[in-house]
Amino acid sequence: MEKIKVEICCGTACYLLGATRLMGIEQNLSKEMKDRVEFEVKPCLGLCNDERLGGSPYVRINGSEVLANATPDMVISRVNELLGREEV
């Protein structure tokens, strides 16, 4: 099965505005989840322009869907939704 791709923006703006808290998500996943999700730390995704600065940190899922003001909980529940299951 295709893995779900989670890209965490670690460009300087996102890093400053909270991406550090997202970097630990991977370790806290169950083995089962880990097999189905692929995490990647990315340089600036180009979303942090002036007006939208308040949306950092950004996370991109499967190459297109963008989560603004991402928190670990948000990312995990979205991933769960995509995996088609209830909260774990």
Partner: protein, 470 residues
Amino acid sequence: MNLAAQYIRRELAIRLVRAFDANKLDREIDAIPIKLRPKNEPSSRCCIYHDRAVLKYRLMALLGYSIEDESDETKTLSSYLEDVIREVSEGKDPYAGLEHKMAPLSVCGPACSGCPDAKVVSTDNCRGCFARPCMYNCPKKAISIVGGRSVIDQSLCIKCGKCVTACPYHAIVKTSVPCEDACPVGAIRKNEFGVAQINFEKCIFCGKCFNQCPFGAVMERSQLMQILLAMKRGEKLVAMVAPAAAKQFPGTIEQLLSACKKAGFAEVMEVALGAEKTTRHETAEFVERYSKDPKMIMTTSCCPAWVNLVAKHMPEHIEKVSLTPSPMVYSREIMKEKDPSLKTVFIGPCVAKRSEARRKDVDFVMSFEELGAILAARNIDVMSCEAYPLERPAEATARNYSHSCGVTEAVIAEAMGKDPGFKLNSKQINGIDKKSIMMIRMHLAGKIPTNFLEVMACPGGCENGPCSMR
């Protein structure tokens, strides 16, 4: 740690640099608070107007002004900005005429919530039980049972908190004033208006209140504007990056140095090179002092909050502080020797360094956060930078200066290199707080045998400094 305040501080700094780079800061600065808190959107305080007022003061602090020095409430941010630009272009210090010009911290009155005085109170959770452990554990007999509930007589209570731990129903709570609790030297107190105020005679600039205030009311006076203006004028600035930088940004220290270069610094260096010199001299100083008086005690001089603590609160021990200059001061020396026209910018996690820099002729101090804001605004990703080609990397012991015990280890390694039988009777104070100050006094008074006392104001060392990236 106040993450919300951290977020807003960083966001403001990034916006400030972006607008500056786009040459429109003068036109936009007054609108920033409104843009960040538009009408019909949620507020973080009572209302968006309160939020906007506090944001204005945050920007004032970012422009370098101390909020205590505000004399005209109608003065706009753009006219503050104009003042800074004019003074800097005339080669003057924009803050020279202000009463609090030397203070790196500032309390924003409108942000302070004026927390009620610390108190121990019994709450509705009290069940008026038969055992009454609160009453029996109170050393001052301040608790009685009135109408089936415990009541604390505030005139007798000494706030020891014994009843708080004794009650199985968690019915008794101790309220606190976080800034006052955090301050190790009693320098922050509420004034006659019920608003926190720093007594700068006492303040050692450790930055603990800055980090602990849940309302983010303590602000740091920034030199960001002066740095941006100097860069723009084409002055040659050198970024002197503290050893604590190692884990602050994604990427290596070499990549961070490249990023600084890209951001517009003419030169970059790791302050660990200065730390090497500190180690050599401090070790030599120790050996010399020891040979003169084997009963002496020497204490480290690289933590500026610690040096401030001795100078302001235990001046009788000042001669025990090593005379060896700090890594920052040696770094300045190294760079000035290389090129006297360079302007030095120390980049670190420390509030107190700002006070040391003024005494020691380092031109500017910038926090990691502020460096991050410049990098973010200029779209520089540390992780995508190539490694800066260092002439040579600093020694491992010097790069380790930012950890608690780092200085001691460096001194031991240095001394053992010359005399393998060298022994140090060292103690480390890992974080300055009310308790550890009592320990420090015992050490300095010779009550606990030590001859080398390392003191770091921040637990764990500089990398957990008040302005670190965490």
